[in-house]
Symmetry: C2
Subunit: 613 residues, 2 copies
Amino acid sequence: MSVIEARTSDIAELGQQLRVDAVRASARAGSGHPTSSMSAADLMAGLLSGHLHYDFDHPHLPGNDRLVFSKGHASPLLYAMLHAAGAIDEEHLLTYRRLGSDLEGHPTPRLPWVDVATGSLGQGLPIGVGMALGARLSGSPARVWVLCGDGEIAEGSMWEAFAAAADFGLGNLCAIVDVNRLGQTGPTRYGWDTGAYATQIGGFGWHTVEIDGHDPAQIDRAFAEAEHEGSRPTVILARTRKGKGVAAAEDKEGLHGKPLDESEKAVVELGGVREARVHVNGPRSSEPRQSRPSTSVRRPSFPVGSMAATRDGFGAALEALGEANPDVVVLDGEVADSTRTAAFKKAFPNRFFECYIAEQQMIGAAVGLQTQGWIPYASTFAAFLTRAHDFLRMAAIGGADLRVVGSHAGVSIGADGPSQMGLEDLAMFRTLWRSVVLYPCDANQCAHLTATMADLPGISYLRTTRAETPVIYRGDELFPVGGSRTLVASAHDKVVIVAAGITVSESLSAAERLADEGLPVRVIDAYSVKPLDAAAIRQAAADTGRVLTVEDHWPVGGLGDAVLDAVAGHIPDVRFHKLAVRGMPGSAGPAEQLAAAGIDAAAICRAAQRLMA
Amino acid sequence: MSVIEARTSDIAELGQQLRVDAVRASARAGSGHPTSSMSAADLMAGLLSGHLHYDFDHPHLPGNDRLVFSKGHASPLLYAMLHAAGAIDEEHLLTYRRLGSDLEGHPTPRLPWVDVATGSLGQGLPIGVGMALGARLSGSPARVWVLCGDGEIAEGSMWEAFAAAADFGLGNLCAIVDVNRLGQTGPTRYGWDTGAYATQIGGFGWHTVEIDGHDPAQIDRAFAEAEHEGSRPTVILARTRKGKGVAAAEDKEGLHGKPLDESEKAVVELGGVREARVHVNGPRSSEPRQSRPSTSVRRPSFPVGSMAATRDGFGAALEALGEANPDVVVLDGEVADSTRTAAFKKAFPNRFFECYIAEQQMIGAAVGLQTQGWIPYASTFAAFLTRAHDFLRMAAIGGADLRVVGSHAGVSIGADGPSQMGLEDLAMFRTLWRSVVLYPCDANQCAHLTATMADLPGISYLRTTRAETPVIYRGDELFPVGGSRTLVASAHDKVVIVAAGITVSESLSAAERLADEGLPVRVIDAYSVKPLDAAAIRQAAADTGRVLTVEDHWPVGGLGDAVLDAVAGHIPDVRFHKLAVRGMPGSAGPAEQLAAAGIDAAAICRAAQRLMA
């Protein structure tokens, strides 16, 4: 037997083993996706046994290749690969989908060999772009392999990734598309026409390889081709058959996401249970991740009493942070001049990634970069972050450490109108599991919070304002996450006003007027919207008996609801009123907008007086 | 002068007039996007004066072409066109961006000639796909023209639209890309390389035309080519210069979104103010919209006491609705078997649109269809609707009437794990302006609400459940929006449990157990999460003094917060506790998931007892 014959026989044999294990795991679970695993089994056998470079004992080595299952529902195949590599044993394999098992229905980083959560289609490739960027930035020779389904090619986020990867020249990235022609409900748009995909993806500048995804020699050659690419990403378009290897399931509609009938017979048809242990190539480099020492952040300072936009505080702090911490990277959605990431871009061009107007790719790349120890800040208009809601949701599931900054929040942006106003961002980010939501009112506070975010785990969100606001804090003050600042207080306060961001200065003006009118009120700057300083707010509620919240956001899911949640059930007899944006704004100047929305100083005064009635 | 010479001279002259008016409007406003308007002015002059068919006095005629400004920031150009067509006068034009004006920073349907809100890039073309589908379905010869920016081609949603339009064979759709090579912060990815765009978009099956976007003859010919296409959509890729016509602004970076310096000089350079009134071709057909009579809905009925999934109630009601109302159309994200829209698909294939796994295109198409009187229902897994958050946000701004249905909500889906669980959908949809959020607990209730949605204005959302739940309502009961059902009540209730969807049956079980333990509780089915039946819940809170909410959703933004918002400030002394999903779920069976999340009957009993302590 020649070397090539031996190699192809190995791939075919390992492919059958992976199928058998996928079938068994799904059968035991009583659910799962064996048929979608079986179509890609030969592809993954070829990758695992000849082209993936990976040390399963040290999954976080920078020299390790990365493998992302963008088609996360094919998790039985991934787990079968882990079994074949000796990373998990058979008993573990058969816990698939059981309560408490880390072999979940869709892969998550609860497994040390899984870097990101997948299962919402179209996300693995944009994340892979970030991994490939991160590897290149680290000087690592590692390659990134992404297994995609053909159905998910319909997701726009895939095309954001095809464009970005070619533009970034990511020769270290390879997408493997399992063209099994069947989606969940029926045939995909292009069926087995790999030529259609090749024309489209090739049109974006990718190297395309069309193969029979069950032919070991073609598979082996395709991966080798990908490994020899220098600056073009490669897509392997593999014609495959869903349920391959079991006649009753092969290329049959209606079997998506179901264990095989008569799974024991299927295992026999596949040649029975095997226990072969595959030899996987070691990492492409054995160097550990280089420690890049960081220094303390030279914090920018804005004079108290001056006017400055919080977005300027963010921009200045981000540049200082970039200087102090060489792991910080920044991603932009083609609005760096507005968000103020432009200063960082100028100072550290190699750590700045222009994602153009493609917010899903921006967040996906950030998720990919953080898997390799980079500290990403991703920024665009708060309104357009809604575009990446699903990526953020999945990032939270995967426990990614992301810093997201949304500028141009609220009606106070003025004349551009509602399409540009972030009015649901607080709700969206508060909903995310274990998120932190920060909303500074002045540039110094914003600068401090920007630097603080670098050390926060999970997803943290910073909301900035377009307009200038009065600088009320000194440049050296500290603002811990979960804290608040009581800006106005007396022993006789009758109402507590809880504000954040642009409404803080309006509340301070209102407090002055109300004091003049004989109504002493407390003012709390709740810059940490999540976690909220519940203790301080409850105390203020107990002291005054009346809580008034005011926010530049829709009335649902923002600061007011956060305060209600903190106060409810704890303080027996409190009157409460929430000021928020209730009507659809049009175009107008910033002050006109705040007045029209009923969240300016005058509206706060009226509401406080009403609470006294 | 030959006819062609006269025509090209007309286009050039009108182009200058449009530029002048865009410059003047932005100058008066002190903000806006004149430079992005000037690049596309000749294109729009050519369209308006020779190829658009439109009756400005009767904008809703089905025979009218549709024009969408996907690059909504070029609104000064649109308003200049309206001025040239005589739809608005000069005084009106110069109210651009002022408080109260309907000439907003980005176009909205407050103007009768604007069908949808734009301003978040990448949305106009997916919406145009829906309009083109709607025109074809109506038998209208009208064409759909979408003016796109080159920067927005980076948005994945554009590629969802390129794929869908070709697949649907929409020869009545034309995208005009204003390739002015400059984005907001600098050059776009491909600059003036219209060939790159042609390769990419042509690869999806579009007819591509590359032209000089300032050459009237080329412009005229390109539109004529588009009008002669039968089944292929056309993209006109026009090389243009941002700020064209004013030397100080032309092709200059750093002038995005700013009025021109020395605008009066610029107007002179453009040849001064003109007052030409353009002749616009009339509609392609003068037929009014055909009234398609609807009959009463044959409502499906599930036997009380049986088990049935709410998604089955939805599917059956949707089919019955399709039979009764010929205006109902359905859009799917390649999960029709799971969401249960498959029955409608089978019964009414011509009113069913398979959008594949492209949720932005699905919602965009629904927005486009409703502009023409169709009644769209768009459905996929609740979790994946987050993908379309920005489209939904913009649809709310545009006042679109949409019905959205999210299946597989909550942890109760079981073993598939968190990537497939909609746990933030209530928050997302509650946040949307003037939305309605419905969450039925049994199949009969769901069927009634499904039919009710057909008549609701704005965005309504229906949340369905994968698992079967007990049928507790008769098939002929009515469930008004804003209502609730009190399922268990006595004069001595000590706690009110507010539930919806899957937690209703858990609450009923808990109420039985608690009654056995000597603790009488009230149970309210709050199927209308927004608007909530605040009166009933406040009364119950006042009667019992203790409110317990329970929901299969993250603790932020869902039912519990809705109840808090309704009760807070109205009832002085109420204890409150919210049960919701607080930990990250893994894989497990449905009952195990409800128990692990602490939202099953046992957890409800424990929480009720704690509220008594």
